[in-house]
């Protein structure tokens, strides 16, 4: 089941530069997208989300862009900080029933180098 794909397993970025994490999806019924950050031995931490009625959402250093026609979203972190080093998961949900369970990508390990 590859409904949500993160094709880059890892990304290294210099401190202060921009980190861009990418995510593709195949299910056109997905209408809400989220990014989570995960440290080892911890649960996923919610970062930012976007509804399909928008193409951009911004929260501090984090911006998520959604391109519905390409079924693609990206997370921009600027400026990147060493504390941002973690695994980043893209997730999606659809309005089937009311539960809105999440479908996750496989994650991208971000390393921010000092």
């Amino acid at each position: 089941d590859q409904q949500v794909k993160q094709n880059s397993p890892s990304l290294s970025v210099q401190e202060g530069r921009i980190s861009i994490l990418n995510c593709d999806y195949t299910n056109s019924m997905f209408d809400y997208f989220l990014w989570y950050k995960k440290y080892p031995a911890e649960g996923p931490t919610f970062l930012i989300s976007i509804s399909s009625i928008k193409d951009k959402n911004e929260d501090g250093r984090f911006t998520v862009f959604l391109n519905k026609s390409a079924k693609h979203l990206s997370l921009h972190i600027v400026p990147s900080q060493p504390g941002d080093s973690a695994v980043y998961f893209c997730a999606a949900s659809q309005l089937s029933g009311s539960a809105r369970q999440l479908t996750f990508g496989s994650g991208t390990q971000l390393t921010v180098l000092p």
């Binding site: 809400y32 989220l34 989570y36 031995a41 911890e42 649960g43 996923p44 931490t45 919610f46 989300s49 509804s51 009625i53 998961f89 997730a91 949900s93 089937s96 029933g97 009311s98 539960a99 809105r100 369970q101 999440l102 479908t103 996750f104 990508g105 496989s106 994650g107």
Partner: protein, 118 residues
């Protein structure tokens, strides 16, 4: 800041034994979930729970699994007869029914329980 808690952090059990994983969701949240992550694999949805009943479940959530909200705070996942392939991190999550915005469906996750079946 309110958070989802889970106990135990690590559970070791023998194949065929029953285990109960416990979660305390955020107090004003109304939807509760269990997910699992087998080592090296994606986080997978197991089940969602709302208004004291299962609202959705995945193919993974077979008759060996059950969930319960025995009181106003706890949310449990029971595996009746564990198998080796049940070894995974199990995450509990919760979300408020209506978020702060019109479209706000974020789920908040606990730290997870590592289940090891030997």
């Amino acid at each position: 800041e309110p958070e989802v808690t889970q106990t135990p952090s690590h559970q070791v059990t023998q194949m065929g034994q029953e285990v109960i994983l416990r979660c305390v969701p955020i107090s004003n949240h109304l939807y509760f979930y269990w997910y699992r992550q087998i080592l090296g694999q994606k986080v997978e949805f197991l089940v969602s729970f709302y208004n004291n009943e299962i609202s959705e479940k995945s193919e993974i959530f077979d008759d060996q699994f059950s969930v319960e909200r025995p009181d106003g705070s706890n949310f449990t996942l029971k595996i009746r007869s564990t198998k080796l392939e049940d070894s995974a991190m199990y995450f509990c999550a919760s979300r408020i029914r209506f978020g702060q915005g019109v479209y706000s469906y974020e789920q908040y996750f606990g730290p997870g329980t590592r289940l090891t079946v030997t």
